[in-house]
């Protein structure tokens, strides 16, 4: 089923008024996009109010939408989801519905399960949802009273990865520090992994069929969601008031890089990138939303408008763009040559417009909102979800990369540049069976 054939029964009130206003003389009601793009309509209408509710699926409010209309609708879905998952969490990890988003507080998704808590040594069953897992041995005694995490009754977040996909290289910030990553999953995804026993190699072998995270969605069961985040160490001249920050145990995993010893530090980390991946009813290939901090890097061919960047040094003629540091890679190094990052595919005008609207809305809720310092890069979604000759769903846009998560595979080269759905379409479990667009199941032991 394509989104083209999925019609919302009602246009938004403003869109309907615009459409009716434009056809008063002829008596014929044109499709809204005959006169106005979806972005134009939205720019004249109020955004949905900020909400803690994760939208279940895209809302195609326009009849006969074209590709850009649909992209706009998915971008709106991305922002709504971003707001909901970053909503302040209550003591049980659920959204605190008595407040609004804005202050630098623990978020809903930060209480979800980290991959290291699910895929345990020996294929052991993971502790139940809401149960803490101990940090790695080397982190014990490093501190457990972080501002963010004690409030959700959880041991500190552990950032245990410093490598980008396909071993393309680590990302180094302008202070010479390794960027760290974490992958989290929501309860709907976790429950499916547990019920199908996909957390272990033995369980996957016994399951003996492709993994499938599809599930009936209800307001209390939003469907499987994965979040991959990237964090930089707050230091140097970093303005922490511009970031969502956490205190995290930064664990250097000796298994990631040869010759590197295990280490752990309790550090203040600033969020610089966020993938939000949601399996919805109409997107069996999942919806892939990616956000970045607005100060990360300039886009190719666009003005370098920021005073400074997290991952780009202005006026550096000797800096090679998007080149990983030379090996050996050692996250324990006190200083490593910073990466000169350039975003190779600039944001579209429509996405930039929506970003400006959402950033203004977030500032209207809280003038100092850290979340207004993040921007949507784009949303990848399946244009033809049930295409018999393309199980990746013929994604739009064809390529999508987060400059902090796929730094070195940006661009538009088929099979070489980052395409969320194109890449994850090949993901399998440890038994070679497809894993429903997640590589996490490869971590089973």
């Amino acid at each position: 089923m394509t989104y083209r054939y999925r019609r919302s029964l009602m246009l938004s009130a403003s869109a309907a008024l615009i459409a009716l206003g434009g056809c008063a003389d002829s008596g014929v009601k044109p499709e809204p996009h005959d006169k106005l793009t979806r972005a134009d309509i939205r720019s004249q209408a109020a955004l949905p109010s900020l909400s803690w509710q994760i939208p279940l699926d895209v809302d195609v409010t326009q009849g006969n939408p074209n590709l850009q209309d649909l992209q706009d609708d998915f971008d709106l879905l991305s922002w709504q989801t971003f707001v909901a998952v970053n909503w302040p969490a209550g003591t049980n990890g659920n959204p605190n519905t008595g407040t609004t988003i804005g202050a630098n507080l623990p978020t809903v998704w930060e209480s979800w399960k980290e991959s290291r808590e699910v895929f345990l040594p020996g294929g052991a069953a993971p502790p139940a949802w809401g149960t803490d897992s101990p940090p790695p041995e080397v982190c014990k005694g490093m501190g457990d009273g972080t501002l963010n995490l004690t409030q959700v009754g959880k041991t500190p977040n552990v950032l245990d990865e410093s490598a980008e996909p396909f071993e393309t290289g680590p990302l180094i910030d302008q202070n010479g520090q390794y960027v760290r990553f974490a992958i989290m999953m929501n309860q709907d995804m976790f429950d499916r992994i547990v019920s199908d026993q996909l957390y272990s190699k033995a369980g996957q072998a016994a399951f003996n069929k492709p993994a499938d995270f599809a599930q009936k969605q209800t307001p209390s069961n939003v469907g499987a969601i994965m979040i991959k985040s990237s964090w930089k160490v707050m230091g140097g001249n970093d303005d922490t008031s511009r970031f969502h920050t956490i205190k995290a145990l930064v664990y250097t995993n000796p298994g990631e890089h040869e010759g590197v010893s295990a280490s752990c530090k309790l550090q203040t980390m600033g969020l610089v990138g966020l993938h939000i991946v949601h399996k919805t009813k109409h997107a069996p290939q999942w919806v892939w939303s990616t956000f970045e901090h607005v100060d990360n890097a300039p886009s190719l061919g666009e003005p370098q408008s920021k005073p400074s960047y997290n991952f780009f040094k202005k006026n550096c003629t000797a800096c090679l763009a998007n080149e990983p540091p030379p090996r050996p890679w050692n996250p324990n190094a006190s200083y490593t040559q910073p990466t000169q990052v350039v975003r190779e595919i600039p944001l579209t005008d429509a996405t930039q417009k929506l970003n400006a609207q959402y950033q203004a809305l977030l500032r209207s809720a809280n003038a100092n909102s850290v979340w207004a310092n993040y921007e949507l890069i784009s949303t990848q979604w399946p244009t033809k979800a049930n295409n018999p000759i393309d199980p990746s769903g013929t994604p739009a846009p064809v390529f999508l990369a987060n400059a902090t998560l796929e730094t070195y595979i940006q661009g538009k080269t088929s099979q070489g540049s980052s395409s969320c759905m194109g890449c994850h379409n090949n993901a399998t479990m440890t038994n070679g069976m497809t894993s429903d667009f997640t590589y996490l199941l490869q971590r089973a032991q």
Partner: protein, 163 residues
Amino acid sequence: MTPMDTFISLSIGLTGFKRGALAPDDDTHDIKSLYLKTFAERVTQATVDDILLWYRLIDKRVLGNTPDREERVVTVLFADKPEYELPCRKLLFLWYAGAWPTVVDTPASTHGQTFSEVISAESYTQGLVWRVMQSHPMGSTTYNYGYWANPPPPLSAYLENPV
């Protein structure tokens, strides 16, 4: 009909593929725009304009909205305007191979040789020849791991759907 509409109808008649494959509603690759541009650059804009004009005129004369309508229009086009056959054969080559052909006449028994130039990385992967083979270009596939253990979808799926 816009020039692009006519170009797509002509291309349907030449290639045998359906509109959903050549110009899907949500056209993420938009290879048709590259091909129309290439067609105009290689055979001149004036020639392309003439071909599309004649196609539209003949289209009005052809009766019946049968599935082979575009093919019948092309047949009449070549009968009325045989000088358009070679440029349209080159366009056909472009759609299938993602490359523009240059035919060099030689006295050899083969009566010539065809050299081709791939237009872009995307035209290479979007070539229709891969779909006729019910396969994928070397180095690029949208199938998922282990696809080779299963029979491919029917040819009709490749003729109707985008990749």
